[in-house]
């Protein structure tokens, strides 16, 4: 991976100071060692080892983005960080501070993102949230603590939605996972505040192989937010997460991701939710960063009247390839799904929408709506749409539409005639283009996302 050197404008590094650092490369022994170091129960060790065998057996997907440059032997698979990163706000490069300024990240959050403070929270806010959550019986921990404190729940659901044999990267994640979130929402509980990884004690922030498990019991509601608009620099070039969500009868889960990894990262993520009767699953997925992203949030609509929705934004510039999309598997009657994808390609970036809609014979009176719009900002960029629809029954309504176009010249001309320069005008139009999705995410994120797009559009910081 050494040949992948990128000019990452917002990148910064925190001095490495690790308690334990495994050797490069992966073998059975290391997998067992990780499990031992984490003092995990035997069944988890077994799951990890089985997953490792699957990882070795499976080949890299031949479709989609080019993954041939990943060197699996040149990656650290387990790093245990020290309690406090060694860094200070002053040590940060000027550019990154400026980026935070321009996006408008609050100081406390900046410190957290920059690794200056271990946690982003004011103690007071943090404690009151944790208190409120535990009063409601909500369990919100990092995955390792989740396994320690609630092994029976983890054992029941872990790997049931995304089995380790699902794909090579799911196998990899299952064998070496570390960090991620464990969220359990009891029956009938509605969590009013969007939950973010920040709120966890001693949060391991952005793990390389994070594993997230969300269980929403009957009639509950929760909104989980992952990532942030501010750029995240990482030295590890492979990020492979697995997210499993169980939406029980009548429950509703919304999962929002804003991904902005630095441009040297392969972001290969498996996200899947099982939705039971009358349940609602909503994925809001924004991919701005990384070198290559392959991510297709899925909903398995397993119960009558279940609903799935994916709202997706992808932005690719330079040599980035965003291969994003969605999967909707209709297995029960009266299920509905909606996929809305918006992508923007600039400066020889490439965006691909790849999706699957499967309507089984049992899924009578189901409805599917898919819409993909792509914007190409110059003649060197590329946009693809690869939808697949498999319909196995007659009582369905399936609609798919896609458009690819460039930015409207008249609109651009009009804005410029009003004294707005070209880059700003483009930013304005792009923000208008993605607005139907950004209005679905919390306001502070929308504001940051809009500024980030403007920043990306104007081509430089400052």
């Amino acid at each position: 991976m050494d040949d992948l050197t990128f000019d990452y404008r917002y990148g910064f590094k925190v001095k490495e100071n690790y308690v334990f650092k495994s050797r490069k490369g992966l073998d059975r022994k290391l997998v067992a060692e990780i499990s031992y170091l984490k003092k995990e129960p035997k069944w988890m060790t077994k799951i990890r080892l089985e997953a490792y065998d699957n990882f070795v057996k499976k080949s890299i997907p031949s479709w989609g983005a080019d993954l041939s440059k990943i060197n699996f032997d040149d990656i650290y698979y387990y790093i245990k960080p020290t309690d406090k990163p060694v860094s200070s706000w002053q040590d940060l490069p000027k550019e990154i501070k400026e980026t935070y300024d321009k996006i408008g990240v609050p100081q406390a959050e900046r410190d957290f993102l920059a690794g200056v403070s271990a946690q982003y929270e004011s103690e007071v806010v943090y404690k009151s949230i944790q208190k409120e959550l535990s009063r409601q019986g909500v369990v919100f921990l990092d995955m390792d603590s989740g396994l320690r404190e609630h092994p029976e729940i983890v054992k029941e659901y872990f790997g049931k939605i995304v089995p380790s044999s699902d794909n090579k990267f799911a196998s990899l994640n299952t064998s070496v996972w570390s960090g991620g979130s464990f969220l359990y929402v009891p029956k009938g509980v509605r969590v009013s505040l969007p939950l973010q990884a920040y709120f966890r004690i001693n949060a391991e922030r952005f793990g390389q192989f994070e594993r997230t498990l969300i269980i929403a019991e009957e009639g509950s509601y929760v909104h989980y937010i992952e990532g942030c608009t501010a750029p995240i620099y990482t030295t590890s070039s492979l990020h492979s997460a697995v997210v499993e969500i169980i939406v029980k009868k009548g429950a509703r889960v919304r999962y929002t991701t804003v991904q902005n990894w630095s441009h040297n990262v392969y972001n290969l993520v498996t996200k899947r939710a099982k939705v039971e009767e009358e349940g609602v699953m909503e994925w809001v997925d924004c991919n701005i960063g990384s070198y290559v992203t392959m991510k297709y949030p899925s909903c398995i609509l397993a119960g009558k009247g279940a609903k799935g929705e994916v709202l997706s934004i992808a932005y690719a510039s330079g040599n980035q390839h965003q291969d994003a999309g969605a999967k909707m598997i209709h297995l029960a009657p009266k299920t509905t799904s909606r996929i809305i994808s918006k992508s923007i390609a600039k400066n020889s970036g490439r965006t691909s929408y790849r999706g699957l809609v499967y309507v089984s014979p049992a899924a009578k009176e189901s409805k599917v709506y898919v819409s993909c719009d792509a914007l190409l900002l110059d003649e060197v960029s590329r946009s693809d749409t690869y939808p697949t629809m498999k319909i196995k029954n007659k009582q369905v309504e399936v609609q798919h539409e896609a458009t690819v176009e460039k930015i409207g010249e008249e609109k651009l001309f009009y804005l410029q005639s009003r004294g707005i320069n070209k880059a700003e005008a483009e930013g304005l139009l792009v923000n208008g283009f993605i607005e139907p999705i950004t209005k679905e995410i919390p306001l502070e994120y929308t504001v940051e996302l809009n500024r980030l797009i403007n920043l990306e559009m104007s081509g430089s910081v400052g």
């Binding site: 590329r382 693809d384 697949t388 196995k392």
Partner: protein, 181 residues
């Protein structure tokens, strides 16, 4: 402008090259195979209409490629299918706009009407766009006869079967009317 009508069922040709400007109309019915429409001249207006009516154990596998190599041409594809019994329909469509093919317009649409629970439809309309000054859309719909429409026709005195036949005829007509030119 010249206008050329091509019946793909008779033509027995999988690679169609359009290297002279003009209007072209290609149509076909119940045809399986891979068909490559390669546009190598500017100002080509290509219309492609396909109709599929699948009954019993009919099985159709068709792939179409609208390949724009030069600027300023347009292609418009519409494939409609009506499927009964255990009919199977596999459609792969690709619109590919090469880097130099600016100001291309390419449309691709697949509409299917399903009349039996045992029908198997697999539709995959893809787009690969390497130029930016283009307008490309594709769409795919699969549905069954609307109960409201059948109810309306029955309320006007038609029998259930007559109502269905009328609605199917209407669905097919969008294509069939082009054949008659």
């Amino acid at each position: 402008m010249r206008r050329l009508i091509i019946n793909l069922n008779n033509k027995k040709e999988n690679n169609l090259i359009f290297d002279k400007s003009g209007n072209y109309l290609v149509f076909f019915k119940n045809l399986s195979g891979e068909f490559n429409f390669r546009i190598e001249a500017e100002n080509v207006n290509l219309e492609i209409y396909g109709l599929f009516i699948g009954k019993n154990n009919d099985q159709f596998t068709i792939k179409t490629i609208q390949h724009h190599i030069v600027p300023n041409s347009s292609s418009n594809l519409l494939i409609k299918g009506v499927f009964f019994d255990q009919a199977k329909f596999f459609y792969r469509g690709l619109v590919r706009i090469e880097k130099g093919a600016q100001k291309s317009h390419a449309y691709q649409k697949n509409k299917n009407l399903v009349l039996s629970d045992n029908v198997d439809i697999d539709s995959k309309p893809d787009l690969e766009i390497l130029a930016n000054d283009v307008f490309c859309t594709h769409g795919s719909t699969t549905g069954y006869l609307s109960k409201d429409e059948i109810f309306y026709l029955k309320s006007r005195g038609l029998k259930e079967n007559q109502a269905k036949d009328l609605l199917i005829e209407g669905f097919i007509n969008e294509i069939a009317s082009k054949f008659k030119i």
